[in-house]
């Protein structure tokens, strides 16, 4: 717990359909298990439709916090998509912010139409690096594809957060709460995804 009193501000950002909400749910459940108050500010409703999505996950002791993190006050940003990570960092990061990024682009419509450009991912990550303290690249999609389900990339990324040591939650707690959040049918797959993420960031 650092900065701005007794709280941890995490932003999980991505594009509609990437499983942002599940990712924040896992983190929040783990935090509650560790006795924290948690508030998640989620923007969805149309999030399945290709728009930017971000979840503000706020851990606190003492009292609950509002659903939105103030500008410049994110401690950790987990980016499920590189451009979205940069977008969120511009508003919410500070020089001490730590980031974990899945470098696989999801192209916005205007890029597909040819009306706008998607900068090279290396450039995006380099610019991001100038804004924050740490950029950890975790190939979430590729790792998830490796276990047969690209859609599990969100859980890989949560795994990376769990293994990062940047939250006050023990890694084992993430592993143990997974069954509370994920249906039995796809639990084993997601457990593998979470572990891949943990291993990946520790390399």
């Amino acid at each position: 717990m650092k900065q701005n009193g007794d709280c941890l501000n995490v932003i999980i950002t991505g594009v509609g359909g990437q499983g942002n909400i599940l990712a924040s749910h896992i983190l929040a459940t783990a935090a509650i298990a560790e006795g924290f108050h948690v508030t998640i500010g989620e923007t969805y409703g149309q999030s399945q439709r290709g728009g930017s999505v971000m979840s503000h996950v706020r851990l606190s002791k003492g009292e609950s916090l509002g659903a939105l993190i103030p500008r410049g006050k994110a401690h950790v940003i987990v980016g499920l998509e590189p451009m979205e990570t940069l977008r969120v960092a511009a508003d919410y990061a500070n020089p001490g912010t730590k980031t974990i990024v899945n470098p696989r682009p999801n192209y916005p419509l205007m890029v597909l139409y040819g009306a706008q450009e998607y900068p090279p991912v290396e450039t995006l990550l380099a610019r991001l690096g100038e804004m924050v303290e740490v950029v950890k690249v975790v190939e979430g999609t590729e790792l998830a594809k490796g276990i047969g389900e690209a859609m599990a990339s969100n859980v890989v990324m949560v795994g990376a957060l769990a293994g990062s040591g940047w939250t006050p939650i023990p890694t084992d707690t993430f592993i143990s709460v997974l069954k509370e959040v994920i249906p039995q049918k796809i639990l084993a797959l997601n457990q593998r995804a979470l572990k891949l993420g943990i291993e990946s960031i520790r390399k």
């Binding site: 508030t39 930017s52 609950s64 103030p70 960092a89 916005p108 706008q116 610019r127 804004m131």
Partner: protein, 646 residues
């Protein structure tokens, strides 16, 4: 186990605001709930309608055809003596308002609670409105929870309040409550066992001024109760010069603002949970000696104006002269301005900093400037679009083609929901109007009836399948009756997709997933005397010809473009693998000039800039295959899921 099912008082669980409201209803012994889905309110009934939840607590849950029907149904259950809940988004209260205006006068028996979830910032709406104005219009008690935990607690309380006052009680939530998640303490479940009965003496009559005067009496009683409510509270030093009066999300934002600025010991916060009628005495008592008041609330300065109006009677007597800050003064303003968009902690921090003359910067100027350069140089706008595999994209392509081939200047009158995107790039800018559920058909009743003024453009009205039942039917009947001529296009994806795939009367399942009488759209239309055609929008050429031909007819007609929502379909089956044969892809040559990526605009189709051909993002692609059908070069290939498994 789903936390809403737990009967473990005191256990702390994570819940979404809407789940908390649902849990509050369960803890109050609610037995009947009804709604028409609408973000950000949908998960309230969505949760209560889950088969395990409905079965466990024994309540009835339904997706009604629209909001006024939902409210009437809930009122009916209340008239029978049960506790009943009705939920809707802000648009819904407009639909329900006619009945609402009279049910407050007639009163009710079992606790009747109406939850309206507003959407400040219009995250998931095509309008931005503050439904609290209705509470004042209705003379109805209004509660505004400020946290996830309060959402549950106040919902439970609202049932008691409603029964005490014998009238419906309104709860106003917002997106940042309904769609936020937080931890809360579970309460005991009231296993209320009432046998509903419409007693011989039961009368629920709205009778003009007579019942209006009864209503005013009830409102004063509500005020008395609110004066003592524990949900209204003051925190901060006594003798503060500046007091923030706030409600809803403003409460935690204000706490954070004072903490961030280090002003917790200097500035007070008066949190109101009952914002109509106002607890007059409670407010006045906490403003003794106060010189500055800052109002913090979502959207309209509703509380701000009501409190100012109240204080006008006390300033100069019990109270000192107060300088007011808020939306009226422009201190509480989003990037759009005051009373526009949603509030956030930064808005409150800035307002307090400005009033107190404190310097505050979220990021250093140098850092903020770099950040803004990054935004403009390295990020592309991410517009909303129909999902990969969405049948509506094909349907809009069909409409675009049919209109062009008809060539008489025909146009499309739109609808809201997913079809709202028909007004944007993803729908080829086809929709020319965007108002409310069913309004496409209604507006077509006017534009389609101007032939005698030599109006000769064909009129097409779009509606969704759920919209058809919600609000399009009266317009369609009107078209038959008054002879308006237009072509209705029902975009039937067999789901209320925008709000989370709730079933509707055309599907054959009820809210709780049980089989229900299926009301077929085509049967209804045929019954009304319309010529009806049904096509699959993925069979684009057939659909274009059908629409074109219907537009040539002398009478109004209906085209149902039917294909299941890609998201629903992708949950059910393994997807086909779609890929681009790079050798066949023409790319930029004279021919298609990148039809799939530049024009059709499916998010799964990507242009490979280096190799100058299209490719498919296998993660995004749902395998619908319509691009393979449309590719002029037949360069897109489909491998069937069954073959892939072999």
């Amino acid at each position: 186990m789903l936390s809403i099912l737990l009967d473990e008082p005191g256990k702390r669980v994570l819940m979404m605001g809407n789940e908390a409201i649902a849990r509050g209803a369960i803890e109050a012994g609610m037995k009947f709930c009804a709604a028409y889905p609408g973000s950000p309110s949908s998960e309230i009934i969505g949760t209560l309608a889950r088969p395990d939840v409905a079965e466990n607590f024994g309540h009835h849950a339904e997706w009604s055809t629209n909001e006024v029907v939902a409210l009437e149904a809930a009122a009916g259950a209340s008239f029978g003596g049960l506790r009943a809940l009705c939920a809707m988004k802000q648009n819904g209260i407009n639909v329900a308002s006619d009945f609402l205006m009279s049910v407050v006068m007639s009163g009710c028996k079992g606790g009747l609670v109406l939850v309206v979830a507003d959407d400040p910032g219009a995250h998931c709406s095509n309008n931005e409105m503050d439904s609290r104005a209705y509470a004042r219009l209705l003379d109805a008690p209004l509660l505004e929870p400020a946290t996830i935990e309060e959402s549950k607690e106040m919902t439970r309380w609202a049932f008691e309040l409603s029964e005490e006052l014998e009238m419906p009680c309104m709860i106003r939530s917002v997106t940042r409550i309904s769609h936020a998640r937080g931890d809360l303490s579970l309460g005991p479940i009231n296993r209320l066992q009432r046998t509903p009965r419409f007693e011989a003496y039961d009368r629920f009559l709205s009778l003009g001024t007579v019942t209006h005067s009864v209503l005013h009496g009830k409102l004063e009683k509500a005020r008395d109760i609110f004066e003592k409510s524990q949900f209204n509270q003051y925190v901060g030093p006594s003798g503060a010069e500046l007091v923030i009066i706030t409600c809803g999300t403003g409460w935690l934002f204000s706490r954070e603002a004072l903490r961030t600025l280090g002003l917790e010991d200097k500035v007070g916060i008066l949190k109101l949970a009952t914002t109509w009628p106002l607890p007059n005495r409670f407010i006045v008592d906490h403003l003794k000696g106060v010189k500055q008041v800052l109002f913090v609330e979502e959207i309209d300065p509703f509380m701000e104006q009501n409190v100012k109006s109240l204080l006008a009677d006390y300033i100069g007597s019990e109270l000192e002269v107060i300088k007011f800050f808020g939306k009226g003064s422009g201190h509480v303003r989003s990037r759009f301005g005051p009373a526009l968009g949603e509030i956030d902690p930064d808005i409150v921090i800035r307002a307090v900093a400005e009033i107190k003359g404190v310097d505050y910067q979220a990021q250093t100027p140098e850092y903020a400037e770099r950040a803004s350069t990054l935004l403009s140089e390295y990020t592309a706008s991410r517009d909303l679009a129909f999902c990969a595999g969405c049948p509506h994209r094909a349907s809009y392509w069909v409409m675009k083609n049919a209109l062009a081939l008809d060539g008489r200047g025909g146009f499309v009158l739109g609808d809201i929901g997913c079809y709202g995107m028909g007004a944007g790039r993803s729908g080829y800018f086809i929709n020319r109007t965007l108002h409310c559920m069913g309004s496409g058909a209604g507006v077509a009743c006017g534009l389609g009836n101007l032939a005698k003024f030599e109006f000769d453009q064909p009129v097409v009205a779009v509606m969704g399948d759920s919209t058809f039942f919600h609000a399009a039917l009266p317009a369609l009947i009107n078209a038959r009756y008054n002879g308006a001529k237009f072509t209705s296009v029902v975009l039937d994806n067999s789901a209320t997709a925008m709000t989370g795939f709730q079933p509707h009367p055309g599907i054959g399942l009820n809210a709780m997933g049980n089989p229900a009488t299926q009301v077929l759209i085509e049967d209804v239309c045929k019954g009304l005397g319309f010529h009806v055609e049904i096509r699959d929008p993925f069979k684009v050429d057939e659909a274009v010809e059908a629409l074109h031909d219907l537009m040539q007819r002398e009478e109004s007609s209906v085209l149902i473009l039917r294909h299941t929502c890609g998201l629903v379909e992708s949950r059910k089956k393994k997807k086909d693998r779609i890929s681009v044969n790079a050798e066949k892809c023409l790319g930029d040559e004279c021919g298609c000039a990148r039809f799939c990526t530049r024009v059709f605009g499916c998010p799964a189709l990507i242009w490979n800039e280096k190799e100058k051909h299209a490719s498919v993002d296998e993660v995004v692609c749902t395998g619908c295959g319509v691009c393979a059908y449309l590719c002029p070069q037949s360069a897109i290939e489909v491998e069937k899921a069954e073959e892939l498994q072999r």
